[in-house]
């Protein structure tokens, strides 16, 4: 199995085999991060641009370090300090970056579909680092990588995603990836943030948190996205915590080997009890480490996808 794509825009259009190619490749790159010399020359001479029109710290830093470990040059471009503030269109900004011979553009944008738009006219590869509430493909890949690493498989596992699903690109990408790989996905949260329409993606929707997490092998917690909500979707943070927060009492009734995941940043005492975030079942920091390996793999694969489409021997 090999990777023939020039871009990584979403999980929805990937096959299960393509997802597995990324995860297999990421395993090799994770090993690189564990060596004394954590750098390989795979992208030597290539230029990667982090085009972050919407602010981000962890994803940007992860891509930045990933590119550096592949020996690529990297430029960080943020909306606050850029010509986008002076009225330049996104297309013109991207064209300007391409005029600097950028090979790969990693893009985060508040508008769904913005990376797909760039991919239509750029020669460079485009990697979606989060577009609005649509998708965040590398997050889903690092989450499935972490599940595979800890559980040895994805197919047949019961995964519960708990929290703000409606505004979450992480949830959408995760649902696509998990269902393609054969997991059973349950969504849970306030009914205003977990509409029944998600059942059409092949998940189960429930509003009873105890029932949602009782048999789960994986509990993936999502942060309440205050910045993306147009109006308050539930009465108060305190009420959210008491109804849907992962407390010690709730966790006590879960499977003893259930993994706790969270894409970060975590809000301690809101969606997750502070002690749970630091307990042995929490793999939140493994997710950060694995994110670096997965992003190295994605940069490596889309770079190969730019050349003549022949299969390497």
């Amino acid at each position: 199995m090999s990777w023939n794509r020039k871009h990584l825009l979403d999980i929805e259009s990937l096959s299960a085999a393509e997802i597995m190619t990324v995860l297999d490749t990421a395993r090799a790159f994770k090993a690189v991060g564990e060596r004394a010399i954590k750098k390989v020359p795979a992208l030597r001479g290539k230029t990667v641009v982090n085009l972050f029109v919407e602010p981000s710290t962890r994803t940007r830093i992860s891509f930045e370090l990933a590119a550096q470990r592949l020996t690529a040059d990297i430029i960080n471009f943020s909306a606050e300090a850029s010509s986008l503030k002076k009225g330049e269109t996104l297309k013109d900004t991207a064209k300007n970056l391409e005029a600097l011979n950028a090979d790969i553009i990693v893009m985060r944008h508040s508008a769904s579909g913005a990376p797909h738009f760039l991919a239509r006219f750029l020669q460079a590869s485009v990697i979606n680092a989060g577009d609005g509430a649509h998708e965040h493909p590398t997050q889903a890949l690092l989450d499935t990588f972490t599940i595979l690493e800890k559980k040895g498989k994805v197919a047949g596992l019961k995964v519960t995603i708990l929290g703000d699903i409606l505004y979450s690109r992480v949830a959408r990408s995760n649902i696509w990836a998990l269902i393609k790989l054969g997991a059973e996905v349950t969504l849970c949260g306030p009914s205003t943030l977990v509409p029944k329409v998600f059942e059409q993606m092949g998940c189960r929707v429930t509003y009873n948190v105890e029932e949602a997490i009782r048999d789960a092998d994986i509990i993936n917690l999502l942060r309440i996205q205050h910045e993306r909500q147009r109006k308050t979707m539930f009465p108060s943070i305190g009420e959210y915590t008491s109804l849907f927060g992962l407390t010690k009492a709730r966790l006590a009734k879960c499977k003893p080997d259930a993994l706790i995941m969270h894409p970060g940043p975590i809000n301690r005492g809101v969606e997750i009890d502070s002690e749970i975030a630091d307990c042995g079942r929490s793999v939140i920091l493994d997710q950060v480490t694995n994110g670096l390996a997965v992003r190295m793999a994605v940069l490596f694969l889309v770079n190969g996808g730019q050349g003549p489409q022949e299969v390497a021997t």
Binding site: A28, R35, I37, A42, G304, G305
Partner: protein, 177 residues
């Protein structure tokens, strides 16, 4: 139409490996500082087999590792990204005589990449190269120290090595006519 010829059968492959192992033992008096590294994928099982024979000759365990050169190839922006396989080097290469093991030596580019990749793990005292088949057509100044069989080929032919320790192991040349 393609025409296939068996160059080495299972027994001949085993004889070639035994001879290579004895040549390695002859060249390297101190077996304790020798380690083998099989290049993914064809070199891995050969390195393990050689390691077993050498352990018998020296009466001491010979460490064996695996190396994937995918990240160090020189054609990464000209081809689809290669599939990656595990690199596992469970010993310190610094100060060791590392013998790289591969199935077929062709352009030499894989070996160049392997030497670069190995460098990131430490400074080997020396690196030697063992291959089952040398089919010629070198594109780099690289030469094997230990060769199972020199096999003159046309550049368009395919050389395939099947090696899993079973009776149907073989070295096959495929001619396109």
């Amino acid at each position: 139409m393609s025409q296939t010829t068996i160059i080495l059968n299972s027994a001949a492959m085993h004889r070639a490996l035994t001879r290579i192992a004895h040549e390695i033992a002859e060249r390297n008096e101190n077996g304790a500082e020798v380690a083998l590294i099989g290049i993914q994928r064809g070199g891995v099982s050969l390195a393990q087999a050689l390691g077993k024979i050498l352990s018998g000759i020296w009466s001491l365990p010979v460490p064996v590792g695996t190396l994937d050169v995918g990240m160090h190839r020189d054609d990464l922006d000209r081809k689809v990204a290669p599939n990656m396989h595990p690199t596992e080097i469970p010993f310190d290469v610094t100060g060791k005589t590392v013998i790289l093991v591969d199935d077929v030596l062709f352009s030499g580019r894989t070996i160049r990449a392997a030497m670069d990749a190995l460098n990131d793990f430490g400074r080997a005292k020396r690196i030697q190269l063992a291959v089952l088949v040398d089919r010629g057509h070198r594109e780099l100044p690289i030469k094997a120290d230990f060769v199972g069989k020199n096999l003159p080929t046309a550049e368009t032919e395919r050389v395939e090595v099947k090696f899993s320790g079973k009776d149907d192991d073989a070295v096959i040349v495929e001619k396109n006519s």
